[in-house]
């Protein structure tokens, strides 16, 4: 495992002068060779500092950083940025305003022979589709073109790792989507290890092989996009990754019951009586049903889908997005069914396991829990 590790941070702390809280605190992170890792976190969580620590633009106060198996910081060693072999694309691109596109890309190639350098520049111009702009100056380029120059400049000297700091923050919404696709294709072609920092969850989920969620200076969870989205480790991570509803449920032994159905609890060592199930907007199917446990309280048409807010019997309002074929009116009773086999179950702030939903049990059982008698049978079963 360790030889496939491109970048490793081990117990890294960083304090900025005159601040009360550390910018980065006890950070552990392994980045695999060839992967695209996105560091996702709200602004001020220390993700840019992490990137600057890896690039060598900041010194860690404690902890060690390895790049390609070589210790670049820690244990009294500090390798300056120019000797680390990392490419960094700044948020504002930091293109040299006095150099042309070509000269910017060639900037990191001083060690190369003349012909080799020209060949490499040509290669990158072709890769990024900038051949027509080679003699332009940065201020003569659009935002998207500037970004491509910055990426080409960082890639030119064959860095071991490419670091991208909020690469799409300076682009407008439409361009952002297009450049995201373009960047994905480009990086797949190059095959370099990439660490990307962003506060935009859609960006992180769409681009990354793995997402590292960072909160208050430390990495909370590293997982595939699917898993950080559906199986977040904490409630905070769940909220950071998108709209989240938490539906309360009661557990008895390994079995539990909620307004969205019955389930078997998996993975929990010592299950408590009360858990909450994480529902994402697309996890839920709504069906018109006169005895349903939910009532539509709000609907919002947003084009490709309709967003419904459904009040459950337990008092929780679930926000769900439904395909246009679902047409419900405000005030209608609906049955709420989960369309995922497993959802994350939380006790307190932490995820304790997964709830495997047992089909069909949901409506019949929960229908009779409505009557006070049902509560009695429930209690009887418990005893």
């Amino acid at each position: 495992m360790s030889e496939t590790c491109a970048v490793r941070l081990a117990g890294v702390w960083k304090w900025y002068r005159g601040t009360a809280v550390p910018a980065v605190r006890d950070l552990w992170l392994d980045v695999r060779a060839g992967e695209l890792l996105a560091i996702l976190g709200p602004s001020g969580c220390g993700k840019t500092t992490t990137l600057r620590l890896i690039a060598g633009l900041e010194r860690p106060d404690t902890g060690a950083i390895e790049i390609g198996g070589r210790v670049v910081a820690g244990g009294g060693r500090f390798v300056p940025p120019e000797e680390r072999g990392v490419g960094l694309v700044f948020q504002d691109y930091a293109l040299f305003p006095h150099l042309t596109v070509e000269e910017n890309i060639a900037f990191g190639l001083r060690g190369f022979a003349r012909q080799e350098r020209a060949r490499r520049v040509q290669e990158l111009l072709a890769l990024t589709g900038l051949e027509a702009f080679r003699t332009r100056y940065p201020h003569q380029l659009s935002g998207g073109q500037q970004q491509r120059v910055a990426i080409a400049r960082a890639l030119a000297p064959h860095p071991a790792v490419l670091l991208l700091d909020e690469p799409f923050a300076n682009l407008d919404a439409e361009l952002r989507l297009r450049m995201r696709e373009e960047l994905r294709r480009l990086l797949r072609d190059v095959g370099v290890t990439v660490i990307l920092v962003t506060h935009d969850r859609d960006e992180a989920l769409a681009l990354a092989d793995r997402v590292a969620v960072m909160l208050e200076g430390t990495v909370v969870q590293v997982d595939t996009p699917e898993r950080v989205y559906h199986e977040p480790r904490t409630r905070e991570v769940a909220r950071l990754l998108g709209q989240a509803s938490f539906v309360p449920a009661r557990v008895l032994g390994r079995l539990g019951r909620s307004d969205i159905g019955s389930f078997a609890l998996e993975g929990a060592e010592d299950p408590t009586e009360q858990v909450e199930l994480l529902l994402r907007p697309r996890d839920v199917v709504l069906e018109r049903h006169p005895e349903g446990l939910g009532v539509v309280v709000d609907r919002r048409f947003v084009g490709a889908e309709t967003i419904y807010r459904v009040l459950l019997r337990c008092g929780i309002t679930v926000e769900t997005s439904q395909p246009p074929s679902v047409e419900l009116a405000i005030g209608e009773r609906v049955e709420v069914r989960c369309n995922r086999a497993r959802v994350a179950a939380f006790a307190g702030d932490e995820r304790i396991g997964l709830a495997a939903l047992l089909e069909r049990l949901g409506r019949t059982r929960s229908a009779d829990t409505e009557a006070p008698v049902a509560g009695g049978t429930d209690g009887a079963a418990a005893s």
Binding site: W13, G18, D26, V86, L88, H98, G108, R153
Partner: protein, 544 residues
């Protein structure tokens, strides 16, 4: 494990925060320069205190109150007349679509580059006894009595001619920055053109107007050349006289401290109003204002504008040309211009080099340095900025006489004087240049494999070069025009263009001052006109 790591880290970081941080060499230089800038002022203050009773006596003397009142009175009068002239000029050139209005605006701003003593020379050479106008009127209609040019009238006229561009430029910038939306909102609220102008536009221009007037007041208070030539006793003039006529320097020092305090108050007020002016500027997209098509009233206005502009510029140029040509046609022997010109160029370039070399580390520290050093460096610069030239000169004279007699009246001390005088301005330019630069650029160069010094050389230096160039040019040009420091600190017998004009005017040799005046006008006006032309083009381009 986490907790113990946390504890050691906290201890570590505390240690790092309390111990001395790494001090860069540029910061050391900046601190030294800043302290040198403070020395003369501190010495002057000390000198005034040391003078004790005598200094106090000169401060409480009724004549001092009289001097302060005269100085302030002149300053206020000039500020008022400047504003009165500048307001219509600014509105006409910025809001009415005259052909070539940008050129006109450049022409109107140009008197800013005319040294006050040159304008004073022109005024006395025209209106003074044996002056052009006087002799003309005497010959043609036998009129021998003109209003007395020496005294309040001459000083007021001269300084108005030189300072109105401050208010003019401030107003023009404000008019240009004004969001059209304010005026449009007023129109939708049923306010007519004139009501809108007086109730919305004019109040919005208030801060700019006041800031321009305060700058004018500051200029008048610290002016020495014009006031001395026109013999209107103010604080600066009597500081000079005290220094020259009596050996008691503490009285002069006391007056100088008084002047510094007055200037500081004005400077702080100016800063305050400039900040207020910034509030009125709006962010986001702003449409350029719609220009009024010129009607007969604005054409009338334009002719008045043209008249004023040609008077302000034509007076010094015309007078100098007139006296020069007259001397030529009469075959009068004029003193050689070669030596003062060479001296001027010498001190100008030396001062430019020294000042820029000192300003660079200072600007660097202010822009990129550690918070603590920035405040240490910034304050002395601010104080130096408000220091009238005559005060700085006096401080350097008394300091060097007492402590460095071998340096007194030598070229190096003169250069130091210039450097201290123009350091704030050079630093300002370099600071603006450096502040515009993205610190990420240097980091980008580092991640692309460059050592720190090479990153500086290949990225930072080429980008700073234009700033260095313009700072040098500014110091070079202003040094040549500078009078009080030159007068007090020059080696004996060392004449520059400035002192040549001064000496000839003092002796009423109008023709002797003519050629140096023409050269000084060229040195002042041509770069200024070129610079504003270039700026106007930039403004036009960004509007497109």
């Amino acid at each position: 494990m986490t907790a113990s790591a946390g504890r050691t880290t906290i201890a570590h970081s505390l240690l790092q925060r309390w111990s001395l941080a790494v001090i860069r060499p540029s910061e050391v230089v900046a601190l030294v320069v800043a302290s040198i800038a403070l020395v003369p002022v501190l010495y002057l203050g000390w000198r005034a205190l040391e003078g004790g009773e005598r200094a106090l006596a000169s401060l409480t003397h009724p004549r001092t109150t009289w001097l302060v009142l005269r100085s302030l009175g002149l300053a206020v009068a000039v500020a008022a007349s400047s504003a009165l002239v500048a307001f219509p000029l600014a509105v006409l050139t910025e809001r009415v679509a005259f052909p070539g209005r940008r050129w006109l605006a450049i022409l109107l701003a140009v008197p800013l580059a005319v040294p006050s003593y040159v304008m004073a020379y022109a005024v006395v050479a025209a209106l003074g006894p044996r002056g052009t106008l006087a002799s003309l009127l005497e010959r043609s209609i036998g009129l021998t009595r003109l209003p007395e040019v020496y005294g309040f009238f001459g000083a007021w006229l001269t300084l108005t001619l030189v300072t109105y561009p401050y208010t003019f430029l401030a107003l023009r910038a404000a008019l240009r920055g004004l969001d059209q939306a304010f005026e449009e909102v007023a129109r939708t609220l049923h306010a007519g053109h004139w009501v809108t102008f007086w109730r919305v536009t004019v109040p919005l221009l208030g801060p700019a107007l006041l800031s321009g007037m305060l700058l004018t007041t500051l200029y008048v208070l610290s002016d020495f050349g014009a006031i001395a030539i026109l013999r209107y006793p103010t604080l600066t003039y009597s500081i000079y006289n005290q220094y020259r006529l009596s050996f008691d320097r503490s009285a002069a020092a006391a007056l100088a401290v008084l002047l510094v305090v007055l200037s500081a108050i004005l400077l702080i007020a100016e800063r305050h109003w400039q900040r207020r002016a910034a509030f009125y500027r709006t962010v986001g997209t702003r449409r350029p204002p719609v220009l009024h098509s010129p009607g007969w009233r604005s054409w009338l206005g334009l002719s008045l504008v043209l008249l004023w502009g040609s008077f302000a510029i034509g007076l010094p140029a015309g007078m100098a040309a007139f006296w020069f040509l007259r001397a030529r046609s009469l075959g009068e022997q004029l003193p050689g211009i070669g030596e003062p010109l060479a001296n001027s160029l010498l001190v100008g370039s030396a001062a430019g080099l020294v000042t820029v070399a000192l300003a660079l580390p200072v600007a660097w520290t202010v822009v990129r340095g550690n918070g603590r050093y920035v405040s240490l460096v910034d304050l002395p610069l601010w104080i130096a900025y408000g220091l009238p030239g005559i005060v700085l000169a006096l401080a350097l004279v008394s300091f060097s006489v007492r402590f460095l007699p071998w340096l007194y009246q030598t070229l190096p001390l003169l250069i130091v004087g210039y450097a201290l005088r123009f350091l704030p301005e050079a630093t300002g330019i370099l600071r603006a240049t450096l502040a515009q630069q993205n610190p990420r650029l240097e980091e980008a160069a580092r991640t692309l494999g460059l050592r720190p010094w090479r990153a500086w050389l290949t990225v930072q230096f080429p980008l700073t070069l234009p700033g260095i160039g313009s700072a040098f040019a500014l110091v070079f040009l202003t040094t040549i025009k500078e009078l009080p420091v030159t007068l007090l600190l020059s080696p004996i017998g060392f004449t520059t263009l400035a002192t040549a004009v001064w000496n000839a005017t003092a002796d009423a040799f109008w023709s002797h001052a003519a050629l140096p005046t023409l050269l000084l006008l060229g040195i002042g006006v041509v770069p200024m006109a070129l610079f504003s032309w270039w700026q106007e083009r930039g403004a036009e381009r960004s509007n497109e």
